[in-house]
Amino acid sequence: MLSPLPSSFSSYVLSVVRIIVGLLFLEHGTAKYLGFPAAQRIPEVLSMSGVGGLLELIGGALIVVGLLTRPVAFLLCGEMAVAYFYAHFPRNFFPVINGGDAAILYCFVFLYFVFAGAGPWSLDALLTRSRSQAPSMA
């Protein structure tokens, strides 16, 4: 069998995946509220899609930079579960028909980020490093 790749590589790839997933997610928020890259009708802020858009905008940005990753990912995982059962599941049971592939994938990827954290390329890692170095600097 292929010899196991060094586990340190997988933590960097975790950060890469986190950044890409965060950017994809952020896109939906910016499309709703900032009209970029595709202009969408701005939703009512207190509606389902309005709150979802805010979570996408703020949550997506936080995931991209890797700040407060575990709690934010937990929120977004829940948001995607709600989105799937609210917007996709009523249409049909099968994800290929109801178009809910992305929602399911997002939900489980964010669930994994809750357990795996942000990886080394993140503000979380920077803050953890500076916090553990601080006592020695005093």
Binding site: V13, A38, R70, D101, I104, L105, V109, V114
Partner: protein
């Protein structure tokens, strides 16, 4: 308290990796089943699917690769090929100039998500709930 929670989360991380792997594999497999077996509903682009077409090859990778990743057998190899297939699908089918460069414009979000999740599986492996782990224990 935060450290205790993080320690608990880290402890169950491998199991959640297996959960992510199973879900991604099953979704991928269902795409392949739709192409080749028209279940649950036929895909218009795959109406006259043949083995040696782009969509036929994609369907095969999705069927076999998706099943392998779902049960966690030869995960890193299968995931590598599936990641490449999704990259090809994105850059050659979704990302067309007429549709726009960003995934939200060209509808290629799912391809990008699959591509990077499978890329991660290549490096992270299949986790404890997999045939790979079972075989490694026996060896």
């Amino acid at each position: 308290m935060g450290d205790v929670m993080e320690a608990t989360l880290d402890k169950y991380r491998p199991q959640v990796l297996s959960i992510l792997r199973i879900m991604a594999g099953l979704l991928f497999l269902s795409a392949g089943i739709q192409k080749w077996f028209a279940f649950p509903v036929a895909m218009p682009a795959a109406a006259n699917i043949t083995l040696f077409s782009m969509i036929g090859a994609a369907g095969c990778i999705e069927l076999i690769g998706g099943a392998l990743v779902a049960v966690g057998l030869f995960t890193r190899y299968a995931a590598f090929i599936m990641s490449g297939e999704m990259a090809v699908a994105y850059w050659f089918y979704a990302n067309r100039p007429a549709r726009g460069f960003m995934p939200i414009q060209n509808g290629g979000t799912v391809e990008v998500l699959f591509c990077f999740i499978f890329l991660y599986l290549v490096f992270a492996g299949s986790g404890p709930w997999s045939l790979d782990a079972l075989l490694r224990k026996k060896a």
